[in-house]
């Protein structure tokens, strides 16, 4: 491989990776990533699940809670509610902010006050949360969406609280994950034998091939095993929780990966510069 030439593409090809989108819906995207290595495809999967930032409720101050659920139980439920994070880039991480606890630059405040005064059950949902920033509202799927149920009240029950939503990543807590699942498959016919099927009698009958198998040539059962073959076609389907658009989850995932790499590269340069000034550190 020529070091100055195109460095990417698996199996020595210089064409480089490519993407084909198969389907794009409101809350999911499915695409095929080709001509790249398993490690790179897996990095994209991991980064979409755990390192794409979103906004989620992180602190709850409860003023009144006479409902059947305990304070911490309600606080936990509030944390899981997806909040529209389309403009997440406008919010800072609190750790990067100049304020001491939280402010409008690094948080969104949502309040909730519901009291049941009638003789029938009243439901408290994510629609009862009132945001102080119209860009960051609890996700509503469509006009028929009644919101996410938080708690049910009987006559006399009251819930009054203030929530502080912050920017974060799912590496810290899963509530910040923009996705509810990422389907990841390669080699649907198991030609590479990366999977060992547990079987009763016949693997072909007990393990039907996935839908992605339609997109690949059926292997010849008499063909010898190619132990040099490497996966280079990845079928990925991302389903969001609604806080970000599926296409944005993928591009923000790649951006997060690029930012990490850039940061490490910069740190390496700094480490090298400080070492050249001061020879007391590590040595070759």
């Amino acid at each position: 491989m020529d070091l100055s030439g195109a460095p990417y593409g698996s199996l020595g090809t210089l064409s480089g990776p490519s993407i084909t989108i198969q389907e794009l819906k409101k809350d999911r995207i499915s695409f095929i990533l080709t001509e790249t290595d398993l490690s790179v495809a897996n990095s994209l999967r991991r980064v979409m699940i755990a390192e794409v930032p979103t906004i989620a409720i992180d602190m709850v101050e409860i003023e009144t809670n006479t409902t059947v659920l305990a304070d911490e139980f309600i606080a936990h439920r509030l944390g899981m509610i997806p909040i529209d994070s389309t403009d997440v880039e406008r919010i800072k991480y609190t750790r990067d902010c100049t304020c001491s606890q939280y402010c409008s630059e690094c948080s969104v405040e949502l309040t909730l006050h519901v009291k049941c005064t009638e003789d029938r059950t009243k439901i408290v949902t994510s629609k009862d949360l009132v945001s102080n920033n119209p860009q960051f509202q609890p996700v509503v799927e469509d006009k028929n969406d009644q919101g996410i149920l938080i708690v049910k009240l009987r006559k006399g029950h009251e819930l009054k609280l203030k929530c502080i939503a912050k920017k974060g990543v799912a590496k810290e807590h899963a509530k910040w994950s923009p996705v509810s699942g990422v389907a990841f498959e390669y080699d649907p016919y198991n030609k590479l034998r990366h999977t060992h099927y547990w079987i009763e009698e016949d693997a072909g009958k007990e393990w039907p091939v996935s839908g992605n198998a339609k997109l690949e040539a059926e292997p010849n059962p008499d063909a010898p095993f190619d132990y040099n073959a490497k996966p280079d076609r990845f079928y990925i389907e991302t389903e969001t929780v609604g806080s970000l658009k599926p296409e944005d989850v993928v591009s923000m995932g790649m951006k997060t990966l690029l930012d990490k790499l850039g940061y490490v590269q910069m740190q390496l340069k700094e480490e090298l510069a400080s070492h050249q000034q001061d020879q007391t550190g590590w040595s070759y």
């Binding site: 993407i19 794009l24 993928v250 790499l261 590269q265």
Partner: protein
């Protein structure tokens, strides 16, 4: 030479290991996470004497950046191209 990367994991480790290993001047590259509850990733590089581990690491990072840039551009081109099944208002399932 072993590089110790704070707050990094398999996401960066495995892809970077692959990219560095592609460099023909590299004899060995491997990574490990010594303990699951310590947010730290070690990556070891051994090169031929025509280059140095630091140079190879820098090149590995740059190559991976270039690769990711190609993926981002390919993805954005594909989204704006719009040649796929698209249904904005469809509700899951």
């Amino acid at each position: 030479m072993t590089f110790s990367l704070k707050d990094e994991d398999h996401t960066l480790g495995n892809a970077l290991r692959y990219m560095i290993m592609k460099n023909p001047e590299v004899d060995y590259c491997g990574y490990s996470i010594p303990h699951p509850s310590e947010a730290k990733m070690n990556i070891r590089v051994q090169t031929t004497d025509r280059t140095s581990a630091i140079e190879v690491m820098d090149k590995g990072l740059q190559d991976l950046i270039d690769l990711c840039t190609v993926v981002v551009d390919a993805f954005k081109a594909e989204v704006s191209n719009g040649d796929f099944e698209y249904d904005e208002d469809a509700v899951w399932p």
